[in-house]
Point group: C3
Chain length 203, copies 3
Amino acid sequence: MGVLETSGDTVILVMEVVGTVAFALSGVMAGARARLDWLGVVVLAVVVSVGGGTLRDLILDVPIDWLTESWPLLLAAAVAVVAIPVVERVGGDLDSRAHVLVADAAGLAAFAVVGADVALDQGVAAWAAAVLGVVTGVGGGVIRDLLVRRRPAVLSGQIYALAALAGTSLYVLLLEVDVEPLVATWLGVLTILAVRLAAIHWD
Amino acid sequence: MGVLETSGDTVILVMEVVGTVAFALSGVMAGARARLDWLGVVVLAVVVSVGGGTLRDLILDVPIDWLTESWPLLLAAAVAVVAIPVVERVGGDLDSRAHVLVADAAGLAAFAVVGADVALDQGVAAWAAAVLGVVTGVGGGVIRDLLVRRRPAVLSGQIYALAALAGTSLYVLLLEVDVEPLVATWLGVLTILAVRLAAIHWD
Amino acid sequence: MGVLETSGDTVILVMEVVGTVAFALSGVMAGARARLDWLGVVVLAVVVSVGGGTLRDLILDVPIDWLTESWPLLLAAAVAVVAIPVVERVGGDLDSRAHVLVADAAGLAAFAVVGADVALDQGVAAWAAAVLGVVTGVGGGVIRDLLVRRRPAVLSGQIYALAALAGTSLYVLLLEVDVEPLVATWLGVLTILAVRLAAIHWD
């Protein structure tokens, strides 16, 4: 993803950055709720940010991306260091479950589509790429919720894995019928984001 | 496993189906106990079904089986969709810990022997194949229990990992002395099942 | 690591043994605190001992070390079998959180440096080797704490991941400037151990 050849690659890179920042924020807020101190919060933010992609790369048997590029780890740690004092200041207002879930929705949407894209690049079947997108999107959040010992959001009963599957399936389908990658990416991401935000709103 | 060459391959495929169905059921019942709604239960059933095999394939560094064949994911999801209304109807009667453990025992027995078989196919040492069978058999249940935040069955103090190890060791040993694969598979599976059911009964 | 070519390899092997024993002990004590019975404790001890290295080998995409060598599994199981009656006898005195953390500190220090060394052998960048050392060191303890359902030590707020990162970074840096591997290993290990023991003492 480091080399930007097409607009498709650029938008995927943008989505990686968005997902990394969003999951790092969800980790910071979940860590604050769990009363971790700041070192623990930084660790949590980094693990949540890279967790889903690591799982995806292990399953695809491709090199883990943060082993070859340093920016994901550094970006997640930097987001945590900047966000921790902000979250602490706004305190009781910010650290509720809903805020974690909104940041999580952004990360889920971005990473699910990135994950499907990486899987397609490896030549897996379209349906398997859609499933791997879901794994990429939900992986970080599952790890986060296990570590702070809360019920994983993916089991929460809100439309979660299904939202991710809808978005990655749409993305994969649109690419199959030769829609512009840029358009397919945005439609996939916005589908997931819209479904998740609606689910959080009406929960 | 998709191509059926010998009776040994057929019985291993049968065991994969049995294990997938049994672990999906254990996931459905564990999800019902944890008061998940049906989307969460389907996700849990699928993850529990493919979890042990995924761990095995990662450790063996072979392609993850559900990436190349779609039936394990589809079967687990279908079992969940069919089982959820049944489990809900029988309600308080069915969703006790014992029912989860009986379904788990069937899945453990089937997957442990399948796991040892897959490992032997990759040329690992006999003792390592027996251990990898245990990992395959217990993996899904550990993931299930972590996700619904219960004490993992493998740590429950009942004879669990040891039952799996007895069965996979027997299976590997019988193949070493050229017993028919069909016979070795059944003896391995029945050993695990018998020990687990006895342990559950006398607990 | 099986072949001892230089004093560097020997000291790394010694560290693997130390880490295996220390994490097995931490698993035994954590299992005793969680009131597991002895079969569960043995399983926990083995999983904690090999967990970090397994994670490292998966991420590096190298053969999992306990698949090719039997001693790590056997040693961890043997330590558990010997330690269980001792821990049970001393009972309420030994099984406190602090004792788990002291054993954990020894395992963390040993495995973190081993992990960085294995990663360097695979030709990853120095900073990535330092990070993988941290993953190797903290992995077993995270798995242990998840399985006995306690807050993971790495999130506890004590200097934990940072202690490991300080030690692995020092180790990698010393090797870069051609310090003797033996000296680099000991300085890395002692750095982690000193920081962790200080953190536990002043917590």
